[in-house]
């Protein structure tokens, strides 16, 4: 049993979208569907404008609102903390989409509101999620927080981190380094 989390450093993101494309290729998604995206946040006034690019995806919340509302228990959390959806049980009511504070889900061609799966099949064989391994700038770091040798410990200790919309009480598993640009 692991305790998977992800660390994202927005200040390292160049906005190349390789993470989105790697994810789409990994899961065979059509161009209009994606499980991760980039938010371009601008602050300040001309000429002192700053921009930060924030990669967003399913936050694999420990208290996932999508799991709470699913009538058939199609959405569930694995023992390793990954939030998944079982397409065989999903009726397609889209309640999970309505309840998610992160707009993380998209309806796939089978009518299932799919989302980032932390590439659970790759992780099971010791590989990293596609968005992590493809990134040229190591924006994302994925690992097991229960593994004392994980580089995550150092990152989470050294950097000031925030979690997206923690005010919703969702307890997300993705930690963002606080941007120095905003």
């Amino acid at each position: 049993m692991a305790n998977y989390v992800m660390f994202i450093d927005p200040d390292r993101c160049t906005g190349c979208n390789a993470c989105r494309i790697a994810c789409q290729m990994q899961w065979g998604l059509p161009p209009e569907l994606n499980f991760n995206s980039l938010i371009h946040q601008e602050t300040g006034k001309y000429p002192n404008v700053k921009r930060v690019i924030i990669p967003v995806q399913c936050q694999h919340c420990k208290d996932a609102p999508c799991e709470k509302v699913c009538p058939t228990s199609a959405t569930y959390t694995t023992e390793d903390g990954i939030v998944l959806i079982d397409g065989k049980k999903c009726i397609g009511c889209k309640y999970c989409m309505v309840a998610c504070p992160y707009n993380a889900r998209v309806i796939n061609e089978q009518g299932v509101p799919e989302k980032c799966r932390f590439c659970v099949e790759l992780v099971a064989v010791g590989e990293e999620p596609a968005c992590v391994s493809t990134c040229m700038n190591e924006v994302r770091v994925f690992g097991d927080l229960d593994d004392p040798n994980s580089p995550l410990h150092e990152l989470l200790e050294k950097r000031e981190v925030v979690r997206l919309r923690a005010d919703h009480g969702t307890d997300p598993r993705i930690y963002y380094a606080k941007s120095k640009r905003v």
Binding site: K68, P71, T72, S73, K89, I91, K94, Y95, A99, V112
Partner: protein
């Protein structure tokens, strides 16, 4: 049992056209466009078909609630309506389920609600309560037709509490989503109950106008139902006014933005034009203008009310999703998510109305929906027993 020959008329053919339109809309989803048949998006995942389901389910519950004035509350003048109220409730609820089934991507997987239910999910309870309600409606209707009124009355009591639970839970489906601030709180469960009474009174007025043959009975029942409709409409208007007014001045920016989308944003035209003027002001003016004594005007007031309610459901479902979610902080993004119902979505709602008219008018000729001597006697004895 009185059986008459069903005679097709202009409305029959119009209903068949509407049903064909709905089948085309459903066919577009299943065989051509898939989920793109509907105007929904990841930002606005619930559209007009969820609104349509709410419209029909609330109308079914409201018709049952007002209809229960006969079997549960023993108000004699409503006895004449009890069977027709039950039949209308059944047809409205079946229509609601049919609209919802097309909206759902995989309706047959609902079987998993039995094997792996999530008891925390309001949608699970929505399915449970409305499923049981439909069974109870069939039971009460069947035993009522068979003149087994003690059983029908027993079912009516159980059914009364089930429908209250179902309608309150329907509001909770929306209120439960913590991130859609416009829906959260206790307002929408209350909205559902009051608007159920509005739609129940309107549906029963339409039925009285179209089916009742006894002039005195028509006038008496029509007046009472008109008063119920006017009273509940005024209460509904006050509640909606308070909700929108308080929301506009809410300290929560997303709630205020959703309310401004209703009154001066992308929903302003359906809100003011259809929900307020057509759905509330015009019917209230018609009802008070005739002092509730003209059944034909009350009938038109009811039609306008139901039309306004369709838009009320679309407005409130869209209003909960119109403000874009801010993924980073709790400030309001100064734009609105766009949504417009497609022809496929309209076709299913309109087609369901055709189905209800066709099925009701057909069954009106095939079943005995008037009060029988046995029924009259049963409730007379019961009410005397209570008064002693």
């Amino acid at each position: 049992m009185t059986k008459k020959k069903y005679q097709a008329n202009l409305w029959t053919y119009l209903s068949l056209i509407l049903i064909a339109f709905a089948l085309a809309g459903a066919g577009n989803k299943y065989f051509i466009s898939g989920e793109h048949a509907f105007g929904i998006s990841p930002e606005v995942p619930w559209g007009a078909l969820i609104s349509g389901y709410v419209f029909f389910a609330v109308a079914a519950t409201g018709t049952g609630l007002v209809g229960s004035l006969a079997h549960v509350f023993r108000i004699k003048k409503f006895e004449v309506l009890s069977r027709r109220a039950l039949l209308a409730s059944i047809l409205l609820l079946i229509s609601g389920f049919a609209v919802l089934a097309v909206e759902l991507s995989n309706p047959f997987k609902m079987i998993h609600m039995l094997f792996t239910p999530n008891l925390n999910s309001p949608i699970f309870w929505m399915g449970a309560f409305y499923g049981v309600y439909l069974i109870l409606l069939f039971g009460e209707f069947y035993f009522s037709l068979k003149d087994k009124h003690s059983i029908a009355t027993g079912i009516a009591y159980v059914s009364f509490f089930v429908k209250l639970a179902a309608i309150t839970n329907l509001g909770r489906v929306f209120a439960y989503t913590a991130v859609r601030d416009f829906w959260s709180g206790y307002y929408y469960p209350a909205y559902m109950i009051v608007s159920a009474i509005v739609s129940g009174a309107a549906v029963l007025l339409i039925i009285v106008h179209l089916t009742s043959k006894d002039k005195a009975e028509k006038e008496d029942l029509g007046k009472t139902l008109s008063q119920i409709l006017a009273g509940s409409l005024i209460l509904f208007a006050i509640m909606q006014g308070a909700k929108v007014g308080l929301s506009l001045n809410s300290a929560d920016g997303t709630v205020a933005a959703a309310a401004s989308a209703l009154v001066s944003g992308p929903m302003a035209l359906p809100f003011w034009g259809m929900e307020v003027i057509v759905g509330i002001v015009a019917p209230v003016a018609l009802l008070f203008g005739t002092k509730f004594s003209s059944l034909s005007k009350s009938f038109w007031a009811s039609i306008l009310t139901m039309l306004g309610l369709v838009f009320s459901r679309i407005d409130f479902v869209y209003a909960g999703q119109v403000v874009p979610l801010n993924l980073l902080d709790n400030t309001v993004i100064p734009s609105f998510n766009s949504y417009a119902p497609t022809w496929s979505e309209w076709s299913l709602i309109i087609g369901a109305l055709g189905f209800i008219y066709l099925a009701f008018s057909f069954l009106e000729t095939k079943l005995t929906l008037d009060v029988t001597k046995g029924e009259e006697e049963y409730y007379r004895v019961k009410s005397e027993g209570y008064s002693h």
